[in-house]
Structures are given as C-alpha cells and as structure tokens.
Amino acid sequence: MASNVTQTHYNDLTPANKVSKKALNKMIWRSLFLQASFNYERMQAGGWLYGMIPGLVEVHTNKDDLALSMQHNLDFINTHPFLVTFVMGIVLSMEQQKTDIQTIRSVRIAAAGPLGGIGDALFWYTLVPITAGICGNLALDGSILGAVLFLLIFNAVQFAIRIWLMNWSYNLGTKAVSTITSNAKEFTRAASILGIFVVGSLIAAYGGTEVRIIISDPAINVQSLLNGILPKILPLAITIGLYFLIKKGWTPTKCIMLLIVVGIVGTMFGVLAGNSQAQDENGNPLPGGYTPLVEWYEYPTE
C-alpha cells in the first residue's frame, strides 16, 4: 500500500545513468494515458505510474528499489494532463539520483497541484473554448473542416507541450538535483514543508463536502453556521480524521469503505449534501439535490 512505504532511502544509492531517449519518448506517449484509471481516491495515480514505468525500470536495476519506487509513485496526484510531463521529468531526474524518497514525494505533489490550476486555465478555459468556438461555427455551416481543424490545433498544441516539457524538465532536474544533495536532509525538510503546505491548500481548494440540513421554521442552515466557524471545516476535519486512522494502521481501502458508508448513510437521513442529478417529472432538479429515505425535516422548496 502506498501508505506502507516506510523505507526512506533506496537500497542502491548510486545515481543511475541518464535515461535513454527511447524511454523518454515512451513516457511521453504513455503520458497520454494519465487518466486511464482515474478514480476519486488517488485521481491520476494509476496512469501516472503507468507513464513513469519506462523510466523507472531503467533507473532502478535493483528490483526491491523498483518496487519501492513504484509504490510511492502511486500516491495521490492530480494535475493537468498536458503539463504532467513537466512533473514526470523532474521526478524521474530525482529517481535517477536516488534522492531521498520523501523528497521525491513532496516535490511531486507540490509541483502537480499548482500546475493543475494553470493548465486548466490555459487549456480547458482558453484553448478549448476558442478552437471549439471557431470549429463549431464551421460545422454548423455543414463543413467537416471544423472537425479536422479542431483535431489539428488541439493535438499540435498538446504534443508540442508534452514533448518539450518532458525533455526540458528532465534536464533541469538532472542539473538541479546534484547541487541539492549536499544538504539533502535540509532539502527534504523544506520540500516536505512546501508539500504539506500545498496539501493543506488542496483541502481548502478542492474540498467540497457539506452538510445539507436546511430547515425553514425556525430558519436554520447548518452549513452556514459551520462556515461561520470555519469555511471548509468538514473537508479539514475529515482529512485529519483519515490521517489519524491511517497512522493507526487503517488501509486506504478501509478508509474508502468507511467513506462510502458515511456517504450513503448521510444521504439516507438527509444529513450530507450530494447531487443525485435526478430530475422530477418536469425535468427540474430535486430540492436539496435529492430526496432522503428518512425525511425528518422539511427542506425549503424555494
């Protein structure tokens, strides 16, 4: 289990040779499958590792080290699919240097988080709307040129970025990594600080879990009350709770089971907010997102 990696250093600490051009190319190609096994626990972790493998096998000739490396490369990750090669290059260069494992993990998450936001703004909210606007209009006029143009522009951009970033960041990392090793301990600590700071931040940025209870008479909105104490208090509390469970030895799978139970029991009684996406006879969404099995309070309809 990712959470079971306790070894802090690789067994073989001799820096590996530079990875072959061929491996880098394979990694670029495999980076297209970053989201192949996307799921809400670790998001892109599975696809990430799939993408890293060509590099990792070259770098870790010691089989135990390869296992070690593969294990921690299954940590939670979420970043933009085009920009991921940047993170891949950096991480690969650290793997090659046999950098302290925790440092690799910290750098990986600290880089991935912000790149996700940047990539979304650049590609999902800029490139796609613009090309879709132009190409959609062409298609509306009956021309198949719209489809062709869309594929051309979109893929020219993504391949250019993926290829360039992978090579650039791998070289960058290779250079930087060696200067860092003289104060390795201090660097690991600093990287962990940044990493933990980013994790705190991710909770606030992405955590959306809320309580649903809104009563109209007397007027009570429990989530508003919670927000008055601390916005995003639930995501924070749940994460910290899970952290202590995992520290106690729970496996991630067990945590997931727990959350599914909590989720379904929570909506059974109308306590947790959730969107069923169900529609009533007139195609309108349900008030409060769903109808609880046990309705013990009246959800305001307006």
């Binding site: 912000p114 979304d120 700071f197 606030a204 069923s276």
Partner: protein
C-alpha cells in the same frame, strides 16, 4: 428509425473508443464536433451529423472536467442528439437541430452520473495497484489501466446502444430510476467527493511531522482566504505555491546554516547527528 446490427456494432465500437478518449489518449476525438459526424455517417446521414456536432459543440462551450468534477457528458449527449435528429428527420441547420439537443439532455446527465459513480467505485482498484507495485509488477500496473479503460468503454458502449434502440423510453426509465433512488445516487456522489481526502491523508502521513502542523493549517488558512475573494480564487493554488516557496526556501536556508555552523564548530562527526 430502423437500426441494423452492423450499425449497432459500429456505434458500440465508436462509443467504446470515445469513452476512453474523453480522459485518456488524445482527449479530443470525443468532442461533439468530431464525434457526431461519425455517428451520423454510421446512421446514414453524415451531413446532419456534422451540423448536430457543431451545434452541440457550441452549446457546451466552457463545461470541462476540472479537478475531476464532471459536467453533463458530451459523448452520450452528442450521440443521442444525433440519433434523435436523424430519427426525427430534422433540418441540417442551427435552428433545425435544436429539438434534438433538448431531447439528448437527460442522457448527457445520465452519462455524467455514470462517470461519477465509476470514478467513485474504481477507487477500489487502487488496492490492486498497490499490490502490483509492491511486487514491482509493471505488467500488473499496465493491466489495471487497460482494464479500467475497458470498463469505462464497455459501460458507455452499452448505454449508447441501448439509447440507440429505445430512445425516449429509456430516457424516461433512467430518469425514474434515479428519481426513486435519488438518495443512493446522492450518497455515491457525496462519497465520491470525499475520496480525495483519503489521498490527502496518505500524503500527510508521508510528509507530516509534529512541527509541521502549523504549515499544514497555514496552507489551509491562506487558501480559505483566497477562495473567499472571487477574482483570485482561480489562481489560489499558484499564489499559495509562491508563499509556500518563500517558507520552504527560508527553512532550507536557515537549517543549512545551522548545520554548517554546527559542523564548523567542532568535531566533524557531529554534523550527521543533528
């Protein structure tokens, strides 16, 4: 509309591919502007497919999956819009195809829902991945990814073919099912939203030490502040990383100096022990 088995098979194969493509591979084949003409061609009206594709593409501008949250699904939506446009014999023009887009909405919503549930349930797959990794089984990792894609593709293929055959009736049935069990659907949605906290917690276990709780909470606090200011909430993570960088570099600078100072000032063996 009469659909023969070959057409159904082709629709299945195309949908299978597109379902994978929406998250993996080129992430562009699946866009309505590309997809609808293909479906149109299969069903015998390429031109109408092109126009429906354009219309659907424009309609859904701006709805992209961000942070894993799903918008109404463009594939199922696009396919059904094309199916309805052809079966109703609509005009290949912007106004003409409007009705088909409307009829396709419940299917797009159902597609969104199918993805969300899949992503929630596939969290279980990670335990398998952990096992494979522990054995350095690179093939195993590959298979998990292939399998995941196959599941998503099959699921979508089945939905599309079912939609192809039963059209509106199926739409209605789906709607009713999710209406009656809305609390289960909502529960899965809520659970899905919480899954990432497991990932965060694992990361915390890796990086946290007792004197870092402050940084953890500070990162949280700063982001809460930023998220409360609309015009910068979008750049929150980047701004946070700037501040985090300052903190990390300061810590690095100071601790390196402390080490140097300790090392310089006496018995060399000391420096490692601190």
């Amino acid at each position: 509309m009469n659909v023969n088995i070959i057409q159904a098979l082709l629709v299945f194969v195309v949908t299978f591919i597109m379902a994978i493509d929406q998250f993996s591979f080129l992430e562009s084949l699946y866009q309505p502007v590309v997809l609808c003409p293909i479906i149109g061609a299969i069903l015998g009206n390429f031109e109408l497919g092109v126009v429906v594709g354009g219309a659907y593409q424009l309609m859904q501008i701006g709805s992209m999956p961000v942070g894993g949250a799903q918008p109404p699904n463009a594939i199922i939506g696009g396919i059904m819009a094309t199916v309805f446009a052809i079966s109703l014999g609509l005009e290949p023009s912007a106004e003409g195809v409007g009705a088909a887009l409307g009829l396709a909405v419940p299917f797009a919503v159902f597609g969104q829902y199918a993805v969300t549930v899949t992503f929630t349930l596939m969290s279980g797959m990670m335990a398998k991945a952990d096992e494979a990794a522990a054995k350095a089984d690179t093939k195993g990792i590959a298979h998990i990814n292939y399998l995941s894609m196959a599941i998503l593709g099959t699921l979508f293929g089945v939905i599309a073919v079912a939609g192809l055959y039963s059209g509106q009736a199926l739409g209605e049935a789906l709607r009713e099912f999710s209406l009656n069990f809305s609390w289960v659907m909502a529960g899965l949605d809520a659970a899905g939203g919480m899954m990432k906290f497991v990932g965060f917690a694992v990361l915390m276990k890796v990086m946290m030490s007792n004197d870092m709780w402050g940084y953890f909470l500070a990162g949280f606090a700063v982001t809460v502040i930023m998220s409360a200011v609309p015009s910068i909430s979008g750049s929150a993570l980047l701004l946070v990383s700037f501040i985090g960088l300052a903190i990390a570099l300061a810590d690095y600078q100071l601790n390196s100096k402390i080490k140097a100072s300790a090392g310089s000032a006496g018995n060399g063996g000391m420096s490692d022990g601190i």
